[in-house]
Subunit: 307 residues, 2 copies
């Protein structure tokens, strides 16, 4: 059985959501135990992950050092964080496998994700990323970024286009089938567009759950397992009649989605990914917390979305 | 035929040796044409590369921003640059392949390299890296690094231990055999040691040519192709009786090496790598410049070292 395991939030950086390296190793050591359970039970997986705190730290460093060191474009920063996080994930997993006598190899694949340069998102970048800049700094950055006024200054605004395809999907698929645990599409992948002379990076951020879904369909995964901070998806979240979802059909979840149960900034993209995965031939999307991953895969907890 | 192609100097950053992203893409676009010739002629290769200017830029950014953003350890910076450079190399290659109708896939593998924690190099770090720091900055950094006095301030001194084995070598070998062009062991690889609870990153720098050689032997490559800024290795370099080497036996090159023809900072490690590769079963090491790579592989130029 093949699964894409999308790591978010606590799984990578712990509760504080900071990019500090020690915390990342600590969080990942614990996450590795959950992943090892899947591997021990014969699953073939690729792991995807977010990069918010890590890319935020790099942007802040660039901001402070921008007079002395030319800032790098966002697509390159994405590549940097794939190296950083991939390394941490692969080392922690390898050590956990070694401890448990699991004989499976691990590899991080730097992943580009194709987006459409005519995607509506490019017309008006809306997603703020990184630190707050002064007027003077913002003017410098305007050469490479769209800057948006926020309270206290300016922030970089980037478009969030939809992923069209995963450039390295066939390699990832082959490696998964050979039993290699692959770490891929980190931070939603490095966004690239097709230009006259080939692929070219663009300053955008692809939602990591949508990129994970795209990858899941392209490698023909059975399960898309989205690991987040809650054990269940809820409807009427935060209200008196809040209700956790355990087992829902595609039709049901689409109804809930239309009715506005899942806010765009948090659960929304996960539900969109869940729906897309099933619509494109996937068996089941499971959304749960990192420490419940294995129980959820056995059907004991989590929110299960299927045809 | 299998080869490890070690990219250095101009191949990655152009003549100015700066980490500026535009220059890196430009330099690599040109380098990709040389690589494409090998691929078109049926070679199976893995590409390794240095990371001096790139890791230097990150260290400088960290220095300037160290009050606001906690600096990352050197092994993590190594992982960051593997992501950065791997992305640039793979995108430029993919575009060149597309232009020429070459149907070969490309993947960057984040690579850890095992070193011995009892390596003599750890007793007294001697390799200076990154920018010059003030006394105050140096004191802060002393918590994580050995600092050495230099003219105008302090620099980080790191050990340069010998590579023992490439952790991801078997994956890289398999991918190469399947015809995938692999980018691996960037910057000499991320140095790790074996501790009680598994692998652990260390702040060191592994010579990229020695790491390339180790990889070449571990994947059973036929050729180790070291690309640098000169077409030939010379004896009596810079003197009146300077002589380029074209075809030399292991025994001859060992004699020249002993006689001090190859300085430790530049040609020395390349010659050491050349010797080690042959001694451990490799067929031939070729040292030449990037734009002569294909001609050298055909035996038309470059320095060829063989049994």
């Amino acid at each position: 059985m093949k699964a894409i395991v999308a790591l978010g939030g606590n799984a990578l950086t712990g509760k504080e959501r900071k990019a500090e390296i020690k915390k990342q190793f600590e969080a990942m050591k614990s996450t590795a135990k959950s992943i090892a359970k899947m591997i021990k039970n014969g699953w073939h997986i690729a792991i995807t992950h977010g990069n918010g705190p890590q890319v935020g730290a790099l942007l802040l460093q660039q901001k402070i050092a921008m007079r002395e060191v030319p800032p790098m474009p966002l697509h390159v920063l994405g590549a940097l964080t794939q190296g950083e996080i991939g390394y941490i994930v692969q080392q922690c997993l390898l050590n956990e496998f070694e401890r448990q006598g699991i004989n499976r190899r691990i590899a991080t694949i730097i992943t580009q994700v194709l987006v459409d340069e005519n995607d509506e998102a490019f017309k008006k970048p809306t997603k703020p990323i990184g630190p707050i800049y002064s007027e003077e700094e913002a003017r410098k950055l305007e050469k490479s970024y769209v800057m948006g006024r926020v309270e206290g200054g300016w922030r970089i605004l980037v478009p969030s286009p939809k992923p069209i395809s995963i450039i390295e999907a066939d390699i990832i698929k082959k490696m998964m089938e050979e039993g290699i645990v692959v770490i891929a599409a980190g931070g939603g992948g490095i966004p690239v567009v097709k230009k006259g002379d080939g692929l070219q990076g663009v300053d955008a951020v692809i939602d990591k759950d949508l990129a994970s879904q795209k990858l899941a369909n392209e490698v023909a995964a059975d399960i898309l397992l989205i690991l987040t901070d809650v054990e269940h998806v809820c409807i009427n979240y935060g209200k008196e009649n809040e209700m956790p979802l355990t087992d829902v059909s595609l039709q049901e979840i689409e109804e809930y989605y239309k009715d506005g149960h899942f806010p765009p900034g948090s659960m929304g993209p996960k539900i969109e990914a869940a729906i897309n995965f099933i619509r494109n031939g996937g068996k089941e999307t499971i959304i749960t917390s990192i420490n419940k991953a294995w129980e959820a895969l056995q059907g004991k907890t989590g929110t299960h979305i299927h045809e």
